[in-house]
């Protein structure tokens, strides 16, 4: 599903990732752990095609992300969902329109968009807020909308960067439960976090990064 071969990444000469090898199978739930600056976010960015590796190859399904032409990147992203720590919702659009957007860019019919968006908002528990603007929602609700937007297209991989950052433990727990449900439906989930609570709650494969290197992987290929 996801394979990284000897991947390195530098930012202005500073090493962000060093000779990373990682294989993630279809349907896995993987937690990327590590302190700030360990390389977790960089690894997610490389998988999502927002950054390119300086060395090595990255395969996501059959696509070599490292060699992807810029015009092909949108099509890679349509097979993935991304949950951001800062939500990145369109402020002037309603919750419904935010979640509908990935379907709209893919040219899905009006009828199917309506059904999928309503079903997904129900699944993440914010259907009653579908007409609201993001600014009117709590942090937890905004994150649920962000998750809904990431999964509404039925992606094969869901990436999340610190999805419980700045959340109280109860709210973080609820968000992690959502990811577990999504994973149980067959979506491969990769979460970058430094929150131990997430690890304790998920009890799945944990990959630990330190200064751009994988120093521990407790469940390779599980």
């Amino acid at each position: 599903m996801i394979q990284l071969f000897h991947v390195s990444k530098y930012y202005e000469g500073r090493l962000a990732l060093s000779d990373v090898n990682l294989h993630i199978q279809k349907g896995e739930f993987v937690l990327l752990m590590g302190a700030s600056g360990a390389g977790k976010t960089t690894l997610l960015k490389l998988l999502f095609g927002t950054e390119r590796p300086d060395e090595g190859q990255i395969l996501v399904q059959t696509r070599n992300v490292a060699r992807l032409a810029p015009s092909e990147v949108p099509y890679l992203r349509r097979t993935m969902g991304f949950v951001f720590q800062d939500f990145r919702l369109l402020p002037k659009k309603s919750v419904f329109d935010n979640v509908a957007m990935p379907l709209l860019v893919q040219g899905i019919s009006h009828h199917d968009i309506r059904k999928k968006v309503v079903d997904t908002l129900k699944a993440v528990g914010v259907e009653h807020r579908k007409e609201s603007r993001p600014a009117m929602l709590s942090a937890g609700e905004q994150q649920r909308v962000c998750i809904a937007r990431a999964v509404v297209t039925g992606p094969i991989v869901l990436l999340a960067d610190e999805p419980t950052g700045n959340m109280d433990p109860q709210l973080a727990g609820e968000i992690i439960e959502l990811f577990k449900v999504i994973n149980a439906r067959g979506t491969t989930v990769v979460i970058a976090t430094h929150n131990r609570q997430v690890v304790d709650q998920v009890k799945r494969r944990v990959v630990i990064l330190n200064q751009g290197k994988i120093i521990s992987d407790d469940g390779v290929g599980r």
Partner: protein
């Protein structure tokens, strides 16, 4: 269909986002296009005038006194045979005198002291359509002068050539002014798009992250530029029409060009449409230039 509706809605949302800038952009584009429109209006009217004058061109071939009937018949046959000639009529000395008396009744005394009729017989030649340019007439007239029995060849060459010269000069001025003003319009609309892009840069980034292609992101901005350009073009037409009507009022109902029978006219429908379409095109180009610059700065 929903996708198309979304793209149109986004274009109008962009316009609403920067209302003041939009109004300034449309007004400035309208003004620059109106400046060009003045040249175009003048050019088209003068070109119409030269075409009309060329259509009306008559060459008078004055015959030498004492030319024999046979020589006259030969000359007429020769002229009629030329492909440059559409028609020919003979004016005898007597007819010329009668016409002079009819046209200048108070000047008849001028001819009284001369005894015999001093006016020459002539052939009035109408040129064929492809040969009505002043250059073609000049070449033909030069050739004719060398023929036996021909005393002089006259036509309103200087007049046509001077108007033709102005038209050619105006063509160059219109091209130069048009290029500068087109560049100004592109820059003005491009700046408006740049402001919109800057205001919506975070949204654009989010659209990229959710899998929107570059084309999907660009289209609303191109539509926005096209709308601004078309509005600018339409407004410039309105300004020109207003100015034109005011000028006509000032000149009176018989607003003839340079004393000719040709009246001063506004742009025909196709040219008006072309002006609006040019605005639309310039607006789209302005937006495209800004989009490419924006994408380069963020890659």
């Amino acid at each position: 269909m929903k996708r198309f509706t979304y793209l149109i809605k986004e274009a109008f949302a962009n316009i609403r986002l920067n209302q003041t800038t939009t109004i300034v952009a449309v007004a400035t584009t309208a003004f620059t296009m109106a400046c060009f429109g003045v040249f175009l209006l003048l050019y088209l009217n003068l070109r119409g005038l030269t075409t009309s004058l060329q259509d009306d061109i008559k060459v008078v071939v004055y015959l030498a006194d004492g030319v024999s009937a046979q020589a006259l018949a030969d000359l007429q046959a020769r002229i009629k045979g030329d492909h440059e000639v559409a028609g020919l009529s003979y004016v005898s000395k007597e007819q010329a005198l009668a016409e002079f008396r009819e046209q200048f009744p108070s000047e008849g005394y001028l001819l009284q002291g001369l005894g015999e009729n001093p006016l020459p017989a002539s052939l009035l030649v109408t040129m064929a359509h492809p040969s009505r340019s002043s250059e073609a007439v000049r070449r033909w007239a030069e050739r004719l002068k060398a023929m036996p029995g021909v005393a002089q060849v006259q036509y309103n060459r200087d007049w046509i050539e001077s108007v033709g010269g102005i038209v050619r000069y105006l063509e160059w001025v219109a091209i130069a002014v048009g290029t500068i003003l087109a560049a100004a319009s592109v820059t003005i609309i491009g700046s408006t798009t740049r402001l919109t892009l800057y205001a919506r840069r975070q949204e654009i980034e989010i659209m990229r992250l959710i899998g929107a292609t570059g084309t999907f992101i660009r289209i609303p901005y191109l539509i926005e530029g096209a709308i601004l350009g078309a509005l600018g073009g339409a407004l410039s037409l309105s300004l020109l029409k207003l100015g034109f009507e005011l000028l006509k009022l000032r000149l009176g109902p018989q607003s003839h060009l340079l004393g000719s029978g040709v009246t001063f006219t506004f742009f025909p429908g196709q040219v008006s449409l072309l002006i609006v379409m040019t605005g639309l095109l310039l607006g789209s180009v302005g937006s495209l230039v800004s989009l490419l610059a924006f994408e380069r700065s963020r890659s």
